[in-house]
Symmetry: C2
Subunit: 325 residues, 2 copies
């Protein structure tokens, strides 16, 4: 079995064996419910891959890796309240299945659990690991706040958007790698380098998500694309379109994205996608996305660790980057 | 100046000098707003007093003490969302002044800040301090969930209620003392003893709060008593009344506490207070409260540390216990 598969199975086993239940059950049932959902387990995998990359003892990163997953799921539970999202991973969100108060408290509890887990490693590395977790946690909150601000904000620049996704999504990927590398006892320069690699490919991954939401090959799964268009989300595609459109097209887009524009969501998705196509937005965003991705890979390549060690991590990010849904 | 006053001023200075601001301001303004409100600063004071009690270097407990205050304020911000509370400490709650999303995120950010602060002490004590913080944080969530459950639950026993206030309020007082004692490097038996002392007097303090809400001498401040009665809160007084009342009086109480009972809140407070008086509830609760208080003091007295060292801590809990509002 290859290492990626091995680490993935290890993470699932860790989650299965960890006791997320307790009393009162109203508080713990949503936590168990959330943690047993199968996700990509991207963040714990990055923790393990980074630890392994630098020759660390992967056993020692297992609980901090689990911490990254628990932390990520906590943020999703709170985000779903704010976004009034009824579904996540095809099932009801905690806020919808139980209620908002429970979603707030279950999230808070998971945040504390994440710290408990993150501490379960060599004593000498605890401060660094927890500093990374805290720093990243605060940045994720900042990113979510910017995302909320953008909903109300008329002029969002592409630079604003990139800063938002850096904070909301990318720093946690960088942070996960940083935690894994910390436990492998690398020096601070290397820590910074692996973190920057994670942040840079993290931005590429988010741009990919934006693209897939419109152009993703969801047909195989019978899913509907265009969720971001339906909810008027100011994604990179939309902001890029606004930037290159002539005045008339820009006004058209602004109209489509105004609240309660009288158009059935399927038609709206069609119309907006047509504008994106006309403006060549897909290609423009792909270019920026590839630039970030390549910059990330370059950063990884500059880290001095043997090529065969890098292979597994590179393989994994390549798999993620080639997904079409 | 006496020690209590000295520590109080030190805490205010620490809060004033700590940088709680940042960008985006929508996220950080509510944090600054909350932290600059003058509270009793009970939890950081307990951290400092416990450290001092055991001859620890109080300088080393300053940031963990601040962590306890930041953590406590985070829980208040989230609680106020759940309770739909418009006011706290005489000013608008974060959820009311800004909005719910901001209150969730500002709270989450403060939780991470609390961990950052709690780590700022001798390296050898970090794991213990953070384990205490995490354990207590989870228990506070459990307590809040029980409190929410009780709103819907028909039969709440006095034992249920005591367990709820132990978790929601008392363990954080115990935990604050434990953190202070940890930083003074005491042994585990003593840690446990000072924690138990805090939990036990913490329950007494909460019963006192319940009593003061009905019988408090708020007149000097022109405040209104009876908030718990108005909101049908199942406090110790109410549960005690149900236990000792005859069938007719019990039904009367249940009616008053049913949703939308058609009675002006001032009359309701009067009627319910009259029932409490008739049943001698005040005296019954005072007895239980004094039992907890005395048991707490006994626990403190059994800790082997010189009497003059205990004096300051005893003086402080006595001041708290003799308040009439």
């Amino acid at each position: 079995m290859d290492k990626i598969q091995l680490f993935k199975e290890r993470i699932e086993t860790l989650i299965e064996n960890y006791n997320f239940s307790g009393t009162p059950k109203e508080l713990y049932d949503p936590i168990v419910y959330t943690m047993k959902q199968k996700g990509k387990r991207l963040r714990p995998l990055l923790c393990m891959l980074a630890c392994d990359l630098f020759g660390g003892d992967v056993k020692k990163v297992e609980y901090p890796a689990l911490a990254a997953e628990v932390f990520h799921n906590f943020t999703l539970i709170h985000d779903d309240i704010m976004d009034r999202a009824p579904l996540r991973r095809g099932v009801e969100t905690v806020y919808k299945k139980w209620n908002q108060d429970i979603a707030i408290l279950a999230g808070d509890t998971m945040f504390a659990m994440a710290y408990q887990l993150a501490m379960q490693t060599d004593y000498k590395n605890i401060r660094k690991v927890l500093n990374t977790l805290s720093r990243v946690a605060i940045q994720v909150c900042e990113g979510q706040q910017l995302d909320l601000n953008f909903e109300q904000q008329e002029n969002v620049s592409i630079a604003d958007y990139l800063e938002m996704i850096r904070l909301k999504t990318a720093v946690l990927l960088g942070g996960s790698l940083e935690i894994g590398a910390t436990i492998a006892n690398v020096d601070d320069t290397t820590l910074q380098a692996i973190y920057e690699f994670g942040v840079t490919i993290g931005i590429a991954f988010q741009l990919q998500d934006d693209l897939l939401d419109v152009y993703g090959n969801y047909d195989v799964f019978g899913k509907i694309t265009g969720g971001d268009i339906t909810t008027n989300k100011k994604t990179y595609l939309y902001l890029q379109a606004l930037e290159v459109a002539d005045d008339a097209t820009r006004q058209q887009l602004l109209d489509f994205y105004s609240d309660n524009y009288p158009l059935h969501f399927e038609n709206k998705i069609q119309e907006v996608t047509a504008i994106f196509n006309k403006l060549g937005v897909k290609e423009l965003v792909e270019q920026v996305m590839n630039d970030y991705y390549n910059k990330g890979i370059e950063r990884l390549n500059r880290i001095s660790v043997s090529e065969d060690k890098k292979e597994t991590l590179l393989k994994y990010v390549n798999i993620l980057y080639s997904r079409d849904h």
